[in-house]
Amino acid sequence: MDNKNKYWKGLEQLNNSPQFVQTKRNEFSEGLPLEEVINEKDFELSSNRRDFLKFFGFSVSAVALAACNNAPIKNAIPYVVKPEEITPGIPNYYASSCGACSAGCSILVKTREGRPVKIEGNEESPVFKGGVCASGHASLLNLYDIERLKNAFVSGKESSWDILDKEVKAGLASAKNIRIVSGTVNSPSVKKAIADFTTKYPSTKHVVYEPISISALIEANKQAFGKVSVPGYRFDKAKVIVGFNCDFLGTWISPVEYTKQYSSNRRLTKDNPVMSRHIQFESLLTITGSSADIRMPVKPSEEGAILISLYNKIAAMAGAPAISGAQNIEKAGNMVETTAKELWAAKGASLVVCGTNNLDNQLLVNAINTLLGNIGSTIDFDNYSNQKTGNDTEFATFVSEMNSGAVDAVIFYNSNPAYSYSDSKSFETGLKKVQLSISTSPTWDETSRMVKYAAPDSHYLESWGDIEPKNGYFGLIQPTISTVFKTRMALESFLRWCDNNTDAYSYIQNYWKSTILPLGNGEWNKSLHDGYFIIPEKAAQVYSNNASLANVTNTAYQNYTSNKDKVEITLYSSVAIRDGADANNPWLQELPDPISSVVWDNYLAISKTLADKLGIEDNDLVNIKTKKGNIEGLPTLIQPGQPNNTASIALGYGRMVKGNTGKEIVGKNAFGLTALVNGQVSYILGDVTIEKAGGNRELARTQTHHYIEGRAIIKEASLGDYIKDPLAANHDHHGNLRDKEGKLITLWEERDAKGHKWGMVVDLNACTGCGSCIVSCSAENNVPVVGRQEVLVRREMHWMRIDRYYSFKNKEGQTSTKEKDIHKNVTDFENIKVAFQPVMCQQCGHAPCESVCPVLATVHSSEGLNQMTYNRCVGTRYCANNCPYKVRRFNWFRYNDNEKFDFHFNNDLGKMVINPDVTVRTRGVMEKCTFCVQRIQAGKLKAKTENREIKDGDIKTACQQSCPANAIVFGDMFDANSELVKLLKNERGYHMLEELNVQPSVNYLTKIRNVEGTLLEQNDHATAKHEEHKAEETHTEHN
């Protein structure tokens, strides 16, 4: 930094001699005359600094207490002995692993004064690379859930762990047939503990149960390659990706890992215009399908037949024999043929994935990948994944065993089959026959309410643990708070029940030291510090495919032909709620579904054509009748992109939780409609009857208009056009409104920014719309949850939103984005394009909100930020009206300590999640995205105390930090070497509503779809046409 002082304390300062710098850092150059003060006779103290501080401290606190009459501090207990590592006001970060799902992403837990307040991605992790999904962020709030079990319970009554242990051990000792039913266990220590348990009680069998299962995939791998595992997928190595009903960016197996891989091939620059090509065949519209370059809507029953045709076409190119007896089917635009060609052209670097839990289809996918030579390149069985290892058949066997009375003791660990099992009735009756039933569920869920012993597991943030999400990648989980209630880690419970009194910490440490760390010269302390420990990846081997496809053809074609005109329903897991385990989490319930923008509900997403045929409109209640069961009174939502004669329903809703957010009936449980087909749970319902039930339930949606109306809000071009012209779809139309420097003419004086000017770039091509940033932002900035009713009247408080726009092709084959045209000229509601756009405060240079505030509550900072002073706000709401981006949020009510908003801000425990760096806003004031100004300040402070300048990447906003797609980059526009400034030079960059010349600090990069060549036909011609038209315009301007 320049020495800008005009007056110097002396020559020393002018020269900035090292000695001077040294003395400058001491606040009092001569030291404080403490001795003199203390030595006064009145004190009668022999001297010392500590006593001085005691007196000083006492008087300060006495004054402070006297001054605090109005706001008595409740239960603020100071540290008796200050822990060495805790400084009030300074956050500590601990590396750990996320326990929200079996993906086990590596995370950092931010704690303040001993309580976790935020989950961040661990950027050093080579697998997860700093990404965290929405569920991961939200899992923090489960720690502070007031509904958690606060002690051990016996027969529904609060008891003590001693009694529980005594009775459980007695029961286990006399049991002849013990079962442990758990979700995926990929913790090596828990596996070891279960093994110990099994040694002690040899009749124990461990049944792994996943409510949303991929067991067909595992079974197919077993049959084909002899590998009972989920392979490691390498989306980053794949040049062509073909997905079949596989939401790998949203919910499938390890979405953060896959999104990191996937998005690494979706970033473009002029000099390196290379991106992967992604073709998605899917029934329900997912965020993966939305991000795809080409999305083919297919009925679920078509999948098998298409896979066979695809196989045969590739086989023809590979010179391999076709599947006998197969007749090929084709989709519009010869898409099967095209896909086959695309895949073959990229053989060895392509990837076909299928998310359907159907053995035949998975075998076909394996066969296709084998033909393409992807095994050993993009599909890696040597670094396989341990995420999601449920076995549907084993669980079904377990239920029938219970019913036959063969099981006399069962422990439910991390699983809730009473809610999610397809035949919950037989599960219930079976469970009643079991003498000893135990659940480690941390809350009263459907299963734990039925068992005799509730032995609540601690939250992962208060537990020791480990996890091996991928083979050779070990994550550690360390507690960041002592247990809030009298809960006990399930690991310890297992140990206690087999008479092992080791605590979890020693048990895990011993196991790691004896077994895991020697695998690769690991050190315990380093692993704990890093949060993970890896042994070098093995080289991926090629495995031959030994599965027979002989039985596949008939079923697939039968399925295809018999369902052709019938209504089919796909049951899926939604991005926010997934399998329903966290249905009691208000952050997740209020996270808008990325596609439908619905909160707090599930619904029947139905195709437009089918809805018209049945006379159903949005929000109408319908009854659904299937062979397996019925759902009554489910609201509908007409979903573009849903193929004709299909619909879909999200799983995970309809939980019977007593919890504070469960008071609202959150949707309907669709797990009852799943059925075991050929040993795998099928989430496809064929031959369904949908009928109007009468009445309606308005779905609360955060977005109710879905088209850009031809406005340049989102700019999109094809890769071909982009290569020809990097400014494709992004030509400047304001040429004659610019001055000599290229700036738009303005009436106002330019604002000076001093030191820094903060800015952001959002890459629309990378964003997948997953919603992680929204929850991250809510956690960081204490954004209140407002509930369904308030969202219905459009008052959600999220500081950032992800807008989602549909575009259609009209009868003339042109892109249609205008509502009127869509109503008149669009008949094809299946083939649509979807674009996502994260929108936060654009931090305008000439902010329209600032000029209209009567009390200067929102003002411009010297670093280009648009600041909001809550204390000064009188709540005229003019700023929100005048915001062209509509990013301002008003506190219509007091959202804390208010019975009407009975979410986490309404109880002392839930409030522990509050970030102390951010004010909790009161009723009647405006709020909005601040670019995480508290992080900017913290970053500046840190740099200052370390006596250095801020480095690029020091400061990351909450939305940016854990974005699984790295779509958001924040930085200093004055730092010429920053990643931000490099991105600002990208030709794809544009400002939203640039013509208003409010000079936003957020830059968007145009969306590019990789559709050139043979795929261009599939893309709409209109983008090109539109562009032609605009090119003419620019041409005229130059004349």
Binding site: Q703, T704, H705, H706, Y707, I708, E709, G710, R711, I713, E790, V793, R794, R795, E796, R801, D803, R804, Y805, Q837, V839, P848, S851, V852, C853, P854, V855, L856, R872, C873, V874, G875, T876, R877, Y878, A880, N881, N882, P884, Y885, K886, R888, R889, F890, N891, W892, F893, R894, T922, R923, G924, V925, M926, M992, L993, L996, V998
Partner: protein, 451 residues
């Protein structure tokens, strides 16, 4: 004063000075009539509704209204602009018509000015109640304070509003009160009870009726009229800048100041007509507020209604001519979007309906004028609703487009504000002369002397 024999007399019935005093003081000095009691009690009940709904809002939050993240203003500011507009006729009649020496104004200016003051009180109530934190409603006033260097934002049209409305209110109040002094003195002199004597004596401020007093009175009246005249134009111009200085399509319009002033006069005269058509009958003042007055006011309504209509059409033209897609959409949306019903109510009430005043019959049929005046009031309320809500609910970013639905609280406050207005008006009718006696005496037709 010379009177043309062909010009209609301003006061009919061959009144003498005594007649005037008796006629105008009668409603004050008699026992309150049944009609007055009924009117007053009904108004007070509606006022209670306003008090209830406003208190509920203040205690609970603006969330009790139907506003949302996209539509941040609706009924609140609609009502505010509506009431400020209502007030405009009073100022126009008392100031501009005084300067233009329109003698016919004399029998209506008192009630019109009272209306102004009560309407501004109603409007001010919305400024306070629409705030998120009404307990700090004084912050937009540039008061010296102990908060540090906090000051108001002089760039904000809302601050201009604070000045405009407060100036307007205080000048109107002083002007109105000044005009009342001679009349209060008359009532004082006629008073029979001690209480009345004391009160009216107090408010008459020692008026002695001397030539010197009259001279000063006239002088001050003229000065105040001079001060008030620019206010007629400034207040609503500034209110219109609440919208015009924004970036929202449909608000960001340079035509707004004259258009709003015309609209305000239009609605103000509508309200004056509503009150006087009834009042002149109930208070038996047909001879003072003659058909000639109604006729003149109808003409003003027709003229300003047409001006407003022209502005509506001009806005459309400018939107089309500008080539700005957002602006064009905003206006297409007004006429054809989900709030088109409000737009067409506005168009038919404000532009089409007043055109009937081209006919003599319409201008001389009191019941018809009354109906029309109500229509004008409805139309002008909808004008503000259309401008505010339809512009906001669909602006730039289509993802944020939203609908606004008012709640019962907002309806209660709107209806209740009429209770506030009419309660004050009924008290005014009961305790103060509704016609300026001293001025009206000056324009009595000369007795026809027999030659």
């Amino acid at each position: 004063m010379y009177e043309s024999p062909i010009r209609e007399v301003l006061v009919e019935g061959g009144k003498t000075y005594t007649d005037v005093s008796n006629d105008i003081c009668r409603p004050l000095e008699n026992k309150a009539t049944k009609g007055w009691w009924i009117g007053f009690i009904v108004s007070a009940l509606v006022l209670a509704l306003w008090i209830g709904a406003t208190t509920y809002t203040l205690m609970t939050g603006i969330g009790t209204w139907g506003l949302n993240k996209t539509v941040g203003w609706a009924f609140d500011i609609t009502n505010f602009v509506f009431w400020v507009g209502i007030g405009h006729a009073g100022k126009l009649i008392s100031a501009i018509l005084l300067l233009f020496r329109q003698k016919w104004r004399m029998s209506i200016n008192r009630s019109a000015e009272a209306m102004t003051i009560f309407a501004v009180i109603c409007a001010a109530s919305f400024i306070v109640s629409h705030m998120g934190r009404p307990w700090v409603a004084y912050w937009p006033i540039p008061l010296p304070n102990a908060f540090g260097s906090l000051w108001v934002n002089f760039n904000s049209p809302l601050v201009w509003d604070v000045f405009a409305i407060s100036t307007y209110f205080s000048v109107s109040l002083v002007f109105w009160y000044l005009g009342l002094i001679p009349d209060i003195a008359t009532i004082r002199d006629r008073a029979t009870t001690r209480m009345r004597k004391f009160m009216y004596n107090f408010f008459a401020m020692g008026w002695d009726g001397s030539a010197r007093t009259w001279n000063r009175y006239e002088l001050v009246s003229l000065i105040l009229a001079g001060i008030s005249t620019p206010l007629v134009l400034s207040v609503h111009s500034i209110v219109s800048m609440d919208f015009a200085t924004s970036v929202i399509p449909g608000w960001h319009t340079t035509i707004f100041p004259p258009y709003f002033v015309a609209g305000a006069i239009f609605s103000g005269f509508g309200m004056v007509l509503t009150l006087l058509v009834i009042g002149r009958v109930v208070l038996k003042q047909e001879e003072y507020i003659t058909m000639g007055h109604l006729d003149a006011m109808c003409k003003v309504v027709m003229l300003t209604g047409s001006m407003v209509g022209l502005a509506y059409i001009t806005e459309f033209f400018i939107a089309a001519y500008s080539g700005v897609e957002y602006e064009q959409y905003a206006f297409i949306n007004r006429a054809t979007g989900p709030y088109a019903w409000a737009y067409w109510i506005m168009m038919s009430c404000n532009l089409i309906a007043p055109q009937v005043f081209w006919t003599k019959w319409a201008r001389s049929t009191p019941w018809f004028i009354f109906v029309l005046s109500i229509i004008v009031n409805i139309g002008m309320w909808f004008e503000r609703f259309v401008i505010i809500v339809t512009s906001l609910h669909r602006d730039y970013i289509t993802s944020s487009w939203a609908m606004y639905t008012p709640t019962w609280v907002e309806f209660s406050i709107l209806i209740g504000s009429f209770g506030l207005f009419f309660t004050l008006y009924f008290l005014f009718v009961r305790y103060l002369p509704t016609i300026n006696m001293s001025e009206i005496k000056a324009i009595l037709p000369k007795k026809q002397t027999q030659h």
